[in-house]
Symmetry: C2
Subunit: 476 residues, 2 copies
């Protein structure tokens, strides 16, 4: 946005600043020499110098003696956030006000949704799904009106089972129960394997939905350190079960939320072995399994855990991150708790809506899913890189940002002393939602962390949002 | 179905038997005289006599000396089932195998669904809903793909609020949270007002879904006697709270399931007053509120309970009994627990599917709902009477059957000694599902009761089913 009034150097500085925000000029890029730019723009050298000085003062560019002006990439900026230390006592999760606000923000299109791990509908095959819905209502007139009680729609379970084979887990339709998104899957899994008061081991940081589910059921969370690269620390679990009565584990082996870590296969194998020995059920959240940037499809933990109907690994997933969040189509392969889960599902919500399940089943059967996933992965990888660079170039020194290998969220460690909860409040007043770090911990750790979702395409509005955040953080 | 072989008298007996089953000949109707029928059918008097004898032996007709042959209405048959006695100790609910089988039977169109309180799709405005779905996907292309987190779709909550005013409860959209059918509403309500181990007072008999939800959450059910006419016994509750630490009440004031009772307004008023004094939350299930045969719309309990946002009555309902079970559109007006319910909903299932909610909102806004309800009430009232008469004329002496004033289930007390669980098993082998009485009690009372749903239109298949049941019961 070029100001209509003001000095020429201000216009020029604004224009270049926006080019940096948009990524047209990237960290490390050399800017045109003062003389050349003056010629190109038909302005005086003094005007260009003044504009560069302004950008320098704003922290956007730097002068390298005898080399010229460069877009700044500051200090430790591309360093990844650090892992938390182990903590030997379980905690009651405290429901934070921020949690409710973030979820309410999902409903308000006026807010910039950096706080929600949702993908912009423009990336999703909505038109194709809509066509299928229309077709389904035409061809199977009354079917959509009928209950499809747990374990849920057979055609959908068949398609999920078929895809699971490609992912290295040979599930059958009989292993599956459909759920209202992965959220209900997690809730059912927890209810099946544990009871109120029980201790559940979670990654630290952990997806706040898991922590809220644990709290809601009167259970306690015990945080196991996780690396932003390799995820869940199996050794730390082994250590902690010596002193703590852990009842179950919840883990996201592929693209953990918020860090984006992926557990190596040998670590998954070890986790399965250790938990089997300890007789510990493991609830696996695989919602990002199809969203690894390099197109690899890491095998779920469940693939390492033996016969489906006797497995101690409960696999939970959905199409909410890849097809249609609003359809709420999820599933659980409950292993040895399958029958129990079906029964709990009956008393918790009886049946999933038929029509959305049918549409997703048809879409999966149509064969367009893999093609869509290829496009989606490329798009979100680009987004993540774009957001990451904007954060790296604009957030203050001492900021660290995750380098996720999939998904679409960034885990950002702000300089020590920055209060993420206060930042969340200030950002909200500017109509920007970020997820503050303490939400990802039952003990309100990560006081100076935020999670930023790159689920929306890059735009001036997003660029403005990142810039505003940078300013707020610098002020903190 | 007239046999192609066999004697003439057999054909005639079959034909008349079917007329009785279909209701063309009703209990108490006089059959044509032997002579007249012989003339009409051009058969011998002996053939008619033989046919009548056959029907008499089958228990379908009776001879009244000097009057002729009449369709039989046996003994106490139209008497209503008796109320249970009070029981002063709470129970852990036991999940019955029959429960799972009944719910699975919902999925099998090969089975006669006498066991499920579902309405046949032919009675529902599926075509209109389908048209709306198509329209919604066209006009609001990407909207259906978005999360609509709790408290859920605003347009839907507005329509529900609007209708609540007509029903005498002035709810606003802010009082409501949408749910996955009434089942999730019940689950959320229980989770909000009570914790594991707590005692929940329920009607006896109670809808088994309520009992299963209580069991699933580790709570205990305490049965309060209910009359098949006036429902929940407030005095019995007053009595029982003197010795028992009751934490909450679940009640269906309008058309209880299974008895079909309706609480008189003064009893509702009393229940509200008593529970308010005792500081007891009351969870009200209103799913049959629109299905009272005479078209009256009894005010929900909630209407008697003061300001919406401070109410101690939590109103739960859905459109599953009147519009589209498979859409899973329900809601809860959680009163003073509203915020807490929204939070639990987040961690239990996050959001309801957007598309079904939009379709129902549009349908309600279109104004066709009341017209549909008038037709539906007439249809189910007719069904209930038809089923009731078939049961009354064919089930053995000593059978009592409820006279519901709304809804579409019948509560049948079989002669003492009949084992409803065994009957359920035997019927299942003949591809008929009935809901055995013990399901409706946490203490497995009602050993000789069954619930029969009249949600499907009368047909030869239904008539055969009732006849088969009558035979099985007689043999017991």
């Amino acid at each position: 946005m070029v100001a209509t009034g003001g000095f020429l150097y201000e216009h020029l500085a604004d224009e270049l600043g926006q080019a940096i925000d948009r990524g047209a000029l990237r960290a490390g890029d050399r800017l045109p020499s003062v003389r050349r730019l003056a010629q190109e723009r038909s302005v005086s050298v003094a005007t260009v110098l003044e504009a560069y000085l302004r950008l320098e003062n704003a922290g956007l560019i730097e002068v390298r003696p005898k080399s010229g002006h460069f877009v700044r990439r500051r200090g430790m900026l591309t360093a990844e956030p650090r892992s938390p230390r182990a903590c030997a006592t379980p905690s009651r999760v405290t429901v934070s006000d921020a949690y409710t606000k973030i979820l309410q923000a999902m409903r308000d299109p006026e807010l910039l949704p950096f706080g929600c791990a949702t993908i912009d509908p423009t990336y999703l095959p909505i038109a194709a799904l809509n066509r299928i819905v229309t077709q389904v209502t035409r061809e199977m007139t009354t079917v959509g009106a009928r209950y499809e009680g747990a374990p849920g729609l057979l055609t959908l379970r068949r398609q999920i089972a078929r895809r699971s084979v490609d992912a290295g887990v040979a599930l059958s339709e009989a292993d599956l129960c459909t759920t209202i998104g992965a959220t209900e899957g997690l809730s059912l899994a927890l209810r099946a394997v544990a009871k109120p008061g029980d201790v559940i081991a979670v990654e630290s940081p952990a997806y706040f939905g898991v922590l809220q589910a644990i709290e809601g059921l009167g259970m306690r969370a015990l945080e196991i350190p996780a690396s932003p690269r390799t995820g869940f620390d199996v050794s730390a679990l082994e250590e902690i079960v010596r002193t703590q009565p852990v009842r179950a584990v919840v883990v996201t082996p592929t693209v953990s939320n918020p860090t984006g870590s992926i557990m190596p296969d040998d670590e998954k194998e070890r986790l399965v072995k250790v938990t089997r020995k300890l007789d510990l059920p493991v609830i696996e959240d695989d919602v990002y399994g199809e969203l690894v940037f390099d197109g690899s499809r890491p095998r779920p933990l469940r693939a390492f855990a033996g016969p489906s109907d006797d497995s101690h690994v409960l696999l939970v997933s959905s199409v909410s991150k890849t097809l249609a969040p609003g359809y709420r189509v999820g599933w659980i392969a409950g292993g040895r708790w399958h029958d129990q889960i079906v029964r709990i599902k009956y008393s918790q919500s009886l049946a999933c809506p038929t029509l959305p399940g049918m549409a997703v089943a048809e879409f999966l059967a149509s064969g367009g899913y893999d093609r869509h996933l290829r496009r989606l992965r490329a798009a979100v990888a680009g987004n993540v890189e774009r957001y990451r660079e904007a954060i790296a170039t604009q957030f203050p020194d001492g900021t660290r940002v995750s380098a996720p290998r999939g998904g679409f969220v960034l885990w950002v460690e702000l300089p020590p002393g920055v209060d993420a909860l206060a930042l969340h409040e200030q950002a909200l007043r500017r109509r920007i939602v970020v997820a503050p770090g303490p939400l990802f911990s039952a003990r309100q750790r990560f006081a100076n962390f935020i999670r930023i979702s790159a689920g929306s395409p890059w735009s001036d509005r997003v660029a403005d949002g990142i810039r505003t955040l940078a300013r707020l953080i610098a002020r903190e």
